[in-house]
Amino acid sequence: MKQWLRQHRYALNVTLRRLFLQPFSWVANTLVIALALTLPLIGASILTSVQPLVREVSITPEMTIFMKPNATPEVATQIAQRIKEANNASVSSIKIIRKDTALSELSQNPAWSQALKVLEGNPLPDAVVVSLVSSDQVVTQAQQLAQTWQSWSGVDFVQLDSAWVQRLEALLRFGRIGLALMTLVVGLVVLAAIFNTVRMQALSQREEIAVARLVGATESFVRRPFLYQGGLTCGLAACLAIGLCLWALNPLNQALLGLAKTYGAEFSLRLPSADILVWCFIAAITLGAISARWSVTRHTRF
């Protein structure tokens, strides 16, 4: 065990010496990888910040069931009762809005009051407003319920108020897929950058590798410093990317705050949670080490 640890310490020393011998090339390389990693990290920050907002607005998805204009007030009451009995688990509240109440509320709106005055009677139907219990499948569930309720006698039309939530969710799904693709592309960029750096390094260390093999070094011993180089570069780049992302979120948040205030809301972008960042850091190190291993295995066959 001690021997193994000593060999790792030696590999780390060799790596650091090689890196410090070419500081500018190493720093430039690390910066390129860090900038590439910043892009998906900012994307993840946007998604992480928007997701709770979507969850919040979709907590109370509502459906409005309009009765036929000639339906008696009892029909709305019966429909409300029927919904309560049939869908108790998925319904959080039911409210009946009588056509008189609706008309009086609408009359209070100056935009509508003049138009309503010319009408002889009340053209509005009775309505039942149903709030659904929020769940992951709420949109699908709402669509199914709307289809069922639409077929009931006395019902004229069912309005699904969660359609825009559906669109927002579709947009988020698009964002998630986009982020996954961007992460994949950035991963490939990192892979290529490390592969090429290690290739150059391996070629410049040919003599040292040959001597090490001559004196009985195993292939693991030869590869180890390059693996450390890949891992260290990507690990440092990941830390830099998190720092860059934090720095970039600050002006973005200030701009967003102004926009959110105009809607009377509070919204800010934030980094993904600490455990996700730790996983990203580990993933970056692993990716660096894997591409270094691939490169060194390919370029030290002499």
Binding site: K2, Q3, W4, R6, Q7, Y10, L21, E207, E208, A210, V211, A212, R213, L214, V215, G216, A217, T218, E219, F221
Partner: protein, 224 residues
């Protein structure tokens, strides 16, 4: 112990270096490998060190058949064979002692022990005063001795050297040969490839001669 049984080695179809060659070198022997340039002396040493593979035949080194050794096991055998190639293969971005420390780092030796063993190896070849010098600051003979120090630091059972005295003046060559002789006297099997007949006459116990298409084994009877 080194044992060659019907070993053939050729590069392509045109250049046959060894053809059905058999010989045995017992533990503690001092053997010269002689022959004209290009005859295959270096190849023979590389075959012993496992740096090259034969086309046919069996090579046994320290009781291990090289053909039976996996790629993973080969480096462990190489640690028991100290190799000094014609080109010293020193690392010019490191000091003399750091060059000698490399084989000890390979086996994961503790830093303090490694440093004292490297110093002892440098002392044996008469380079203890140059431990912090860069190899480029050393003369040809000193570079050769540094390569020897690196080869012996892991206390190998076999020491093989390819033209270690080429390009050295007579006194320096003799000094280098004396280092080999000292190691041989403590039981290290030593094989030296050379075409220097004077050195062979002075130091040889046995000479293996490789000539194109021929392999001869000469035991040397020395007057004591």
């Amino acid at each position: 112990m080194i044992d060659f049984q019907n070993v053939s080695k050729s590069y392509g179809t045109a250049l046959a270096i060894l053809t059905q060659t058999s010989f045995t070198v017992t533990t503690g022997e001092f053997v010269f490998i002689a022959g004209p340039s290009g005859a295959g002396k270096s190849t023979l040493l590389k075959l012993i060190a496992g740096l090259e593979a034969p086309n046919s035949g069996q090579i046994t080194v320290n009781g291990q058949r090289l053909s039976d050794l996996s790629a993973r096991a080969r480096p462990y055998l190489r640690r028991t064979v100290g190799v000094i190639l014609q080109n010293t293969h020193l690392l010019y971005d490191r000091s003399a002692i750091e060059n000698v420390l490399l084989p000890l780092a390979v086996v994961g030796q503790a830093p303090e022990t490694a440093r004292s063993r490297a110093r002892a190896a440098l002392e044996k070849v008469g380079l203890s005063h140059k431990e912090h010098a860069n190899p480029v600051e050393l003369s040809g003979g000193e570079q050769q001795r540094l390569a020897i120090a690196r080869a012996i630091v892991n206390r190998p059972a076999i020491l093989i050297a390819d033209e270690p005295t080429a390009n050295l003046d007579r006194d320096t060559a003799r000094r280098v040969m004396n280092v080999f002789k000292d190691f041989n006297q403590v039981g290290v099997t030593t094989l030296v490839a050379t075409h220097d007949e004077d050195l062979m006459a002075e130091y040889a116990q046995r000479v293996l001669v490789i000539e194109p298409g021929r392999f001869r084994d000469f035991p040397v009877q020395r007057k004591t």
